[in-house]
Symmetry: C2
Subunit: 197 residues, 2 copies
Amino acid sequence: MPRTADGGTIGAMSETARPDFHRTVPPGDTETRAVCRKCGYVHYDNPKIVVGSVVRAEGGILLCRRAIAPRRGYWTIPAGYLELNETPQDGARREALEEACAAVEVRDLLAVYSVARLSQVQLIWRATLKGPIAAGDESLEVHLFDWETIPWDELAFPSVHWALRHDREAASGAPVPFTNPPGETGDTLPDGTRMQG
Amino acid sequence: MPRTADGGTIGAMSETARPDFHRTVPPGDTETRAVCRKCGYVHYDNPKIVVGSVVRAEGGILLCRRAIAPRRGYWTIPAGYLELNETPQDGARREALEEACAAVEVRDLLAVYSVARLSQVQLIWRATLKGPIAAGDESLEVHLFDWETIPWDELAFPSVHWALRHDREAASGAPVPFTNPPGETGDTLPDGTRMQG
């Protein structure tokens, strides 16, 4: 999908009928916005809320190998965008169900992470697995990992690293919720890889 | 501004050039969305993030009397929509500055509230006042209230009630963050008044 200059997603029905956006300050506004030359639509972009959970089971921690961009083939915790009229806890439950066919009990809030570059706030919950798992449409495979077998070099996002480590600290009695680790903005992986987009 | 059927805000440059939205399922999508007949724009609406703080000072708790809709004339804590590329803590600081000209130190997270009806997630922080206060553009007046003088019958939103009570509990040592009080959805005030919009 085409994107506005400020990173917002702009959808279009087809290549033949699509908006023609330019940047201008709408009447009564103080900021430049993406405005469609065809219909006058003003695109107001907003930060996005990601909800997810670190799901624990007897057999380990649930991770999903992504079947979709970005970071296809890399491992993540079940997480995604909060939907309209949904509570964050319901959203975290839905994401576990969609990505890992996993019924989970959502417990307390593990972390509030912020990735300002993406205008993203992440609400990550502690959760307990209540049944079997299987790859959902957005996952190539799902697996329960022992701490020692977590594929650290193949984790999808910086915040997956943070969440796994914070969940381990929480299990040892550290107070929750965590926020970004000191100095971390979510722009780079621990090995120095710069995130795209 | 016109609104989509799902409650999203849709802007328009003028009455003569404006989008012509209808509800349909875009190709490759599974949900009905607002789509413009003129340009094919697909409006993807997302939940909104509200950031704010309960600001404590020697003289009491900071409240602002709203100069704008909704709930003009009623009292609220400094809070508003998170902006693009902003961390929630920075957003809470900005709102205190805008609404009460107040420099504040943002401390720990007091609460994560959800108002599913409005597709709203609220991140409310504990904060300490660091200087003088004065009414900003969106406030009729600002004031530091002792607990006993808080105008409970003139608070703007259910979550202002929650935040003030939770902040008091936190000051007494209760663990944070709080979530919605049990059974509360943010749809009614304590006196039974149904919230509009």
